[in-house]
Every structure is written in structure tokens, then in C-alpha cells.
């Protein structure tokens, strides 16, 4: 086993590294935040991030509340043209509204406190539940809050708590286990998706766990019709788990005692924060060991990752395809917006292939190249057009910031702007046309158009 992972030498730290750190550990930053992160240095920035704070963010952020009127004025949700049944349509619409309210609120949190919400997004993808099955905004919100409370904390504790989480109980039918026919589905997910990973357990273990969780019940959970809301109030005096809690806790402990436990989590963290490419197995073993040693503190692993030299390697920087959520929140950050635009959010949730609180299946989103196809790429181009409007309407428009810079020193300002939006090489800069355009930029409006061009480049899809 390797002793450690090489850290990035202090002398090598650049502004580009700072930008990369904020893109991956958060949802990028405004120009000011990136500058601040660079000045703080890697160590201090990572420490802030692991407290869930964005380096350089104003400490007294005015939290923008979502204007309820905006919600009421939302455009008609698509796909309803195919539903002819009026009753279904209303129920569908009602749920769509609830789901979208959840989504919009979370997206706003992401914009407000990136590093914290990034890890919440990680958990949502790993220990996932879906509104489509749970059909309760309250349950989904509660689960989201559980992820937020855990954040960079105790992985084992989170797994224990997620088994008792109402949304998860409904999502994985945990409470539908009958003694005669133990449902092995949940047991399988617990081993495969939450703890050990595929191929690292035997079917006897599945059967054992399935037997253990027989009898788990959400108290007073009523049978429900499709599209019927589960009553959250019925949950509040829920004490139904207590008699089994200890046994369950021991069961989870025994899983975490297995040497392989932790490797799955490290792999997923690596994939989420660093790279989808094959991760070095020695590195996984080392980080999993550190994780176990720390008493399952995620922050320990992430700290090692964020400080490492490999995290800033050219094979990593700018080599991840942005998820739709990353795209949306990052674009807001980059153009200097303070409030998530509802229309941009709705468009993202419905057209780009990642609807928050609604993952396609128990393994979350498959990410990487699956984000991009002809339809979703066109949708991303369309979204950048919406972002143009957002840029005009709120905050300190990036166009203004960069125009000021370019007035002082045209070429330098331009380069900073390119770095701000494009995380990778941009062949277009070599084209004569690009140079000519860049040279003639002489108003804020020109900069704005230029930014929209940049957002429609294939390179803009990378982070």
C-alpha cells in the first residue's frame, strides 16, 4: 500500500488551479471568488470548502428568496399534450409543480453555497430516491436535509440513517418485506449501491439482510392511490423503528467491518469530483484505508483528493463533461447572476437529462458521455441563450466585468475572460475570425455576444 498521495507543491498553485478547484468542489465561482480563492491558497481554500463554504464568498450573503409569483407564472409543462385524461392531467401538473418547487429551491441553494450543495448532490446520486415513486415533497426534502446534515461527515452513520429515511423506505419498498417472501431487492441495493459494490458479497448475505429487515414499518403509512400524496403528518410520531434500530445498526456495522467497505465510496467520490476514467486501485485502497481510519469521515478523503497533484493534472482539468445541474449553476455563477432563473431551471430539468429528485433508477445518473447527445447538446445551446437574458437582468453582469478589464488591457482582459468560461483548450481562438472579432470588441454588448458564442462551443461543455 502506498504511503500517501502526492500533494500539489505550493509553488505550482495558479489562478487556473483555483478556478478548477471551485469548478469541481463547488459550481465554479464569480471572477471575484476565483481571485480570492487564488489568493487564499490551496490549503486554506480546501479547509473552507470542507466546512461547506465558498472561498471568497461574501460572508453575509443575502439569500435570495424565490418569488412565489414566478412559480405561479411558470410556462406550461411539456408532455401534457399526450395526456388526454383531465383528472390525470391535474394530478400530474400538481406533482410537476411540487417537484419543480423542490428543484428550484435546491438549485438556489447550490448557487448560494456551492461546496456544501455539491456534496449533497453527490449523496443524492449515490443514495438516491425518486419523487416519481415517493410522491411526497416532504419526504424528498427531508432526505435532502439528511444529506445536508451529513455533508462531509460520517458515511457509516448516513447509511444507518438512510435506512430509516421515509423517502428511502418508500423508494426501495423497505417496509413491504414479508416474512415469508423477504424482498431481496433492498438488501441487494444496500450491498451493491450503498456499501460493498457489485461482486463483493455473496447471495447468502443478501438473504440474511433481507430477513433482518422484515417487519420494518413506517407507522401509520396508508396505502395510497397513484398520484396521492403521502401524508407527512402521519410520520411525525413515528416510533416504529426503535425495536429494530439496534439490530440494524449492528448489521450495518458488520458490513463496514468488511475490508472492502469504503472502496465503493472512494471510487464514486473520485468519479464525481475527479474523473470518470479508471481510477488507480492503489489510490482507492489507500483512500479507503484513510477513510476507515478516520471513522468514516468523508472530509478526510476529499481533503486528500483536493490537495493532490493528480487532481490538478492536465488529464483531469477541463476533462469532465458538465452534468446539466453543473452546467446550469455554473453558468449562473459565471455570468454573475444571484438568483437561479426559473425558466432556465425548468428548461434544464426537463430537456437536459437530469431532473433533480428524479433520477432514472437506483444507481442515480450515469453521467459522463451519456449527458451529451444531439438533442441534449442542442438544448444546452438553447439554454445559453436564456443565460444571455439572465446576464442582462441580474447581479453584476460578467459582460460588464470583462469589458472593464478589456478597456484597461484588451488582450489580457480577453484571456481572463476565456479562462473564466472555457476550462480547456479552445481551437476557435486560432481562427482568423475569432481574432478579428475579439479585436473589434468595443462595447459591453459586444462582450455579451462574445460570451454567448463561448457558451455554444463544445469546449464549454467541459469543466
Amino acid at each position: 500500500m502506498r504511503a500517501s498521495i502526492k500533494t500539489l507543491p505550493k509553488a505550482e498553485w495558479t489562478r487556473q488551479h483555483a478556478a478548477h478547484l471551485l469548478k469541481r468542489a463547488s459550481f465554479s465561482g464569480s471572477k471575484r471568488e476565483i481571485d480570492e480563492c487564488f489568493h487564499l491558497g490551496l490549503n486554506a481554500s480546501v479547509n473552507l470548502i470542507l466546512e461547506g463554504r465558498q472561498p471568497g464568498a461574501a460572508s453575509t450573503t443575502v439569500k435570495k428568496r424565490i418569488d412565489p409569483q414566478l412559480l405561479a407564472k411558470l410556462p406550461t409543462l411539456p408532455n401534457q399534450e399526450y395526456v388526454s385524461d383531465e383528472g390525470m392531467k391535474t394530478a400530474y401538473q400538481r406533482h410537476q409543480q411540487k417537484l419543480f418547487t423542490l428543484q428550484l429551491q435546491w438549485l438556489q441553494r447550490m448557487l448560494d453555497s456551492g461546496p456544501l450543495e455539491k456534496i449533497v448532490l453527490f449523496w443524492h446520486g449515490m443514495l438516491t430516491s425518486s419523487y416519481n415513486k415517493v410522491l411526497s415533497a416532504g419526504f424528498m426534502m427531508r432526505q435532502n436535509q439528511l444529506f445536508r446534515e451529513t455533508a462531509f461527515g460520517d458515511y457509516r452513520e448516513l447509511v444507518k440513517r438512510i435506512l430509516l429515511d421515509p423517502a428511502m423506505v418508500v423508494y426501495l419498498d423497505i417496509d413491504k418485506n414479508k416474512r415469508r417472501q423477504p424482498n431481496e431487492n433492498f438488501a441487494r441495493e444496500l450491498l451493491e449501491m450503498f456499501t460493498l459494490g457489485e461482486g463483493n458479497y455473496q447471495s447468502a448475505l443478501i438473504k440474511k439482510i433481507a430477513r433482518e429487515i422484515v417487519g420494518l414499518r413506517l407507522k401509520r403509512r396508508e396505502d395510497k392511490l397513484p398520484y396521492e400524496e403521502i401524508d407527512l403528518k402521519g410520520m411525525e410520531d413515528n416510533t416504529g423503528f426503535s425495536d429494530q434500530e439496534k439490530r440494524l445498526s449492528k448489521l450495518i456495522d458488520s458490513l463496514f467491518d468488511l475490508p472492502v467497505c469504503g472502496e465503493l465510496l472512494v471510487r464514486r467520490l473520485w468519479k464525481f469530483y475527479v474523473s470518470e476514467d479508471q481510477v488507480d486501485e492503489d489510490r482507492v485502497k489507500f483512500l479507503a484505508y484513510e477513510l476507515r481510519k478516520s471513522g468514516w469521515e468523508i472530509s478526510v478523503v476529499l481533503k486528500q483528493i483536493f490537495l493532490s497533484k493528480v487532481f490538478f493534472d492536465t488529464s483531469v482539468m477541463g476533462q469532465q463533461i458538465k452534468s446539466p445541474v453543473q452546467y446550469l449553476v455554473q453558468a449562473h455563477k459565471e455570468v454573475g447572476a444571484l438568483t437561479i432563473d426559473p425558466q432556465a431551471a425548468l428548461y434544464t430539468m426537463q430537456k437536459l437529462g437530469q431532473s433533480l429528485f428524479n433520477p432514472p433508477n437506483v444507481s442515480g445518473w450515469s453521467a459522463g458521455m451519456t449527458w451529451i447527445n444531439g438533442t441534449t447538446l442542442s438544448a444546452r445551446y438553447e439554454l445559453s441563450k436564456i443565460m444571455g437574458r439572465v446576464m442582462q437582468q441580474q447581479g453584476t453582469p460578467a459582460s460588464k466585468v470583462f469589458y472593464e478589464l478589456m478597456k484597461k488591457n484588451h488582450d489580457q482582459g480577453l484571456l481572463i475572460m476565456l479562462d473564466h468560461f472555457i476550462a480547456t483548450s479552445l481551437p476557435a481562438v486560432k481562427s482568423e475570425l475569432f481574432v478579428a472579432m475579439a479585436k473589434r470588441v468595443k462595447s459591453e454588448e459586444h462582450v455579451e455576444i462574445f460570451i454567448l458564442y463561448l457558451m455554444c462551443m463544445p469546449e464549454y461543455q467541459m469543466c
Binding site: D85, Q350, A436, C456, E459
Partner: protein, 431 residues
């Protein structure tokens, strides 16, 4: 300074936001529909075209093709059975005795009379699944293993049309398949996913106003080209995105070029969801697009309650849209080059439920329509005897849906089906 540079530099935001340099990526909304004047020109087809109408939600087969001659039907459905007097009965063919269609389906009886309607009884598959999503995925996949696989596994595999595109449409653009609604698994292959045509007629978001000029702005094109021709050193994922960007541009260009040639519009299509879809599809077909398979969608078939009114409304919509569509196709001489197939993820149970509806079942009839179709009744009408009704009340299948797919592929699209549909399923003789 080159002309292109000048164009680029004179770009003003107004123009940019309005005509939408970016808008050129979504397909034009409004074809210039001038009322058709003069005789309709005849068109020669480059290839056969299949139009699928997906009946989303699980269509009640027994109230669609009604076994009015079978008393078990009436016993099981005291409230929602179609009265014998209301059934539009098939006549003239022995196999059609005791069968007819829902009173809203007049056009289907006309098609049957003309020998252009194939009614295939009891279509389904072994070990039927009652989940909309899973059963839908099984139908779309067409793979034998699908029934035993998880829904995710099915969704991660390929669809029957996708395999057809891969095998027989290599080198063509993604326009070989075109669909309304969500990207269908059926059209997913290794190299193909199909192209969404939803945006041709409806813009989901009102703020996108598209101008008439759809030409891509030269400046943007140049920049995209630079990206396309970039050296490979930029990493696998970025290269991938660049390729998709280039491909997307190509197929958008093709579609735009093609639509620019669409000059007229005829036929009197009902202003319903399906009417609009079939109207647009007829236009695309008549103008000689490369699309082999279109998929239209109509939803609302999940009639657990108050079925009678809902079901009638749905079939009226289909009946009227189809009449307009086939009329339009026939008027341009393409009748033998277009076939329509209807399918639903499952049928419904024999017995009505307590809320004037029916619950998820299994086998149901399918329709194939077209000038080249051998109009007939395929398979026996449901007996509705105990042995045909499965343990939860759905109907057992007699014809596997893959036998229908195979017939379409082999006899209509004239391709070999090895690797597309398993050889366990003999093709019906529908054409």
C-alpha cells in the same frame, strides 16, 4: 477584411437574440403554409416509410376490436361493454365474424372494406409484465431476454428499430428515425437515436421566437469548424463532445435544407394532438425525407375509471387523424409506400373494475394500415374462456409482437432481420 468578418462584426445583440443564431439549432417552428393551390403533384417514394402510433397507457383492446359475438364479453363488462347495436361490425370476411370496432372508429371499417387494414388478434408476449414502464420497455426493445431483465438493463440495451438502423441504414444521418415526445428506446441503436420532431410544431417555451432566416451564422460555423478540426490531443471526452456537436450540426442542416423545400401543405388535419403530429409527418413524408420510421404518440389510455367517455374520445381522435393522414398520403400517390402500425404497452383485463374502468392486462389487438398491407384478420378472436384469461385477468397472448415486427421488417421494409429479432419468432404474412 473578408465579408464574413464584416458580418460577424456587425452582429448586434438585437439581431442575435431575435433571429437567434442559436435558434438555428432548434428546428423551425413554422413552415410557410400557404393554402394549397392547384393539383397535388404525385410523388415518387425513395423508400418505404413506417409510421408508428403509440397508444400510451395500455389500450383496452376488447373495447377497440369488440368481440360482440361473444357473450363472455358482455358478462364480464356489464357497464362498459360496447352494445352490439353500437359496434361497427366487420363484414364480408368469415374470419371477421363476431368482431367489429368501437363506434368512433368508422374509418377503420372503411379501411377494412378496402383491404387496407390488418387486425392482429391477441398480440403480446410470454410472462407479461403489468408495469407501464417495464412492459413498454419490453415492447420497444424487442429482445427475447427483455422479460427477465430489469427495466434498467432493458433501457441500457438497444431497441428493435435502433438495431434495424444500425444494420441497414449505416452511413445515414439520425433522421432515419423521427419521433414525438421522449427519445424512444425503440430507436436507440449503437449509431442511432432518432431525431425529435416535437419542436417542429410546438415550442415548449414561449420566449423562443424564431425568425424566418434559419441560416447558421457564418461566424459561429467557423468557430465550430475550428473545434471539429482540432487536434486529438484534447482528451477523449472533449473529442466526443466535438463530434456530437459536428454531427448535430450536420443533421440540423439537413433537416433545415429539407424543410426549406417544403413548399406546400395540404390535407385537412384535425386540430388535435395526433392530428397535428400526423399532419406534420405527412408533410415530411411527401417531401421525400430520409426518415424510415416515424413515431407519433397519443396518451391517456390508462383508463382505470370512467373509461367509456375517455376511450371514445381517444379513438375518435385517432380515427379522424388517421383519415386525414391516409387521405393526404393517397392523394400524392404514396399509399403503397406508407404503412401505419399501432401498439400499446399492454391491453386491459377482461373484467371491468368497480369504477367504470379496466385495469392493466396483457394481450391486445394491433392494427397495421396501408395500401401495401394484406387486409385481413390475423389470429383467432379472443375466446375469453378461462384458459385464455391469465391469473390476474389479463388475456394470454397468441401472437408474439416480435412476429409483427419481423413481418414489417422483412416483407415491407425488405430487410433481413438476423440480429434484430430472434429467429424464435416467425414472421406473420402481413404484406
Amino acid at each position: 477584411m473578408s465579408r464574413e468578418n464584416e458580418i460577424a462584426l456587425s452582429l448586434a445583440r438585437r439581431e442575435f437574440m431575435k433571429t437567434g443564431l442559436l435558434a438555428s439549432f432548434s428546428l423551425p417552428t413554422l413552415l410557410n403554409y400557404s393554402a394549397l393551390a392547384g393539383p397535388i403533384p404525385k410523388v415518387t417514394a425513395k423508400h418505404k416509410t413506417l409510421v408508428i402510433i403509440q397508444l400510451d397507457g395500455g389500450n383496452d383492446g376488447l373495447n377497440t376490436v369488440v368481440p360482440w359475438g361473444n357473450s363472455r364479453y358482455y358478462r364480464a363488462r356489464e357497464n362498459i361493454a360496447i352494445k352490439e347495436a353500437d359496434v361497427l361490425k366487420f363484414t364480408g370476411v368469415r374470419a371477421a365474424e363476431g368482431l367489429g370496432v368501437h363506434p368512433q372508429m368508422e374509418y377503420f371499417t372503411e379501411l377494412f372494406q378496402e383491404g387496407k387494414l390488418a387486425v392482429i388478434n391477441n398480440v403480446g408476449y410470454a410472462q407479461p409484465n403489468r408495469s407501464h414502464f417495464k412492459s413498454g420497455a419490453i415492447w420497444e426493445s424487442g429482445l427475447d431476454g427483455a422479460v427477465m431483465a430489469s427495466e434498467d438493463q432493458i433501457r441500457n440495451s438497444s431497441g428493435w428499430l435502433g438495431r434495424y438502423f444500425d444494420k441497414h441504414c449505416g452511413g445515414e444521418s439520425n433522421l432515419v428515425g423521427a419521433y414525438y415526445g421522449d427519445s424512444p428506446l425503440a430507436m436507440r441503436g449503437q449509431a442511432f437515436t432518432g431525431t425529435s420532431i416535437s419542436d417542429l410544431q410546438s415550442q415548449p417555451f414561449g420566449f423562443m421566437k424564431l425568425g424566418e432566416d434559419m441560416a447558421l451564422h457564418p461566424a459561429f460555423r467557423k468557430m465550430q469548424e475550428a473545434a471539429k478540426n482540432a487536434e486529438e490531443s484534447s482528451g477523449e471526452k472533449l473529442s466526443f463532445v466535438r463530434n456530437i456537436a459536428a454531427e448535430t450540426q450536420t443533421s440540423t442542416d439537413q433537416m433545415r435544407k429539407f424543410l426549406a423545400d417544403v413548399k406546400q401543405r395540404g390535407g385537412d388535419f384535425p386540430r388535435t394532438g395526433l392530428g397535428k403530429q400526423l399532419g406534420m409527418i405527412s408533410e415530411l413524408i411527401i417531401n421525400g425525407g430520409d426518415t424510415r420510421v416515424y413515431q407519433a404518440r397519443i396518451g391517456g389510455f390508462d383508463t382505470h375509471s370512467g373509461q367509456a367517455a375517455k376511450h371514445a374520445k381517444l379513438w375518435k381522435e385517432i380515427n379522424d387523424a388517421l383519415r386525414a393522414f391516409m387521405g393526404r398520403i393517397k392523394s400524392t400517390g404514396l399509399e403503397n409506400d406508407v404503412a401505419v402500425m399501432t401498439y400499446s404497452e399492454f391491453g386491459r383485463q377482461l373484467k371491468e373494475n368497480g369504477t367504470g374502468g379496466t385495469d392493466h392486462g396483457a394481450a391486445a389487438p394491433m392494427f397495421i394500415i396501408g395500401g401495401g398491407v394484406k387486409g385481413a384478420i390475423y389470429g383467432k378472436p379472443p375466446t375469453l374462456k378461462g384458459d385464455q384469461v391469465n391469473n390476474y385477468g389479463g388475456l394470454a397472448y397468441e401472437i408474439d409482437f416480435r412476429s409483427v415486427y419481423k413481418s414489417i421488417l422483412e416483407q415491407y421494409l425488405k430487410v433481413e432481420t438476423l440480429g434484430i429479432i430472434s429467429d424464435k419468432h416467425p414472421a406473420l404474412k402481413l404484406f
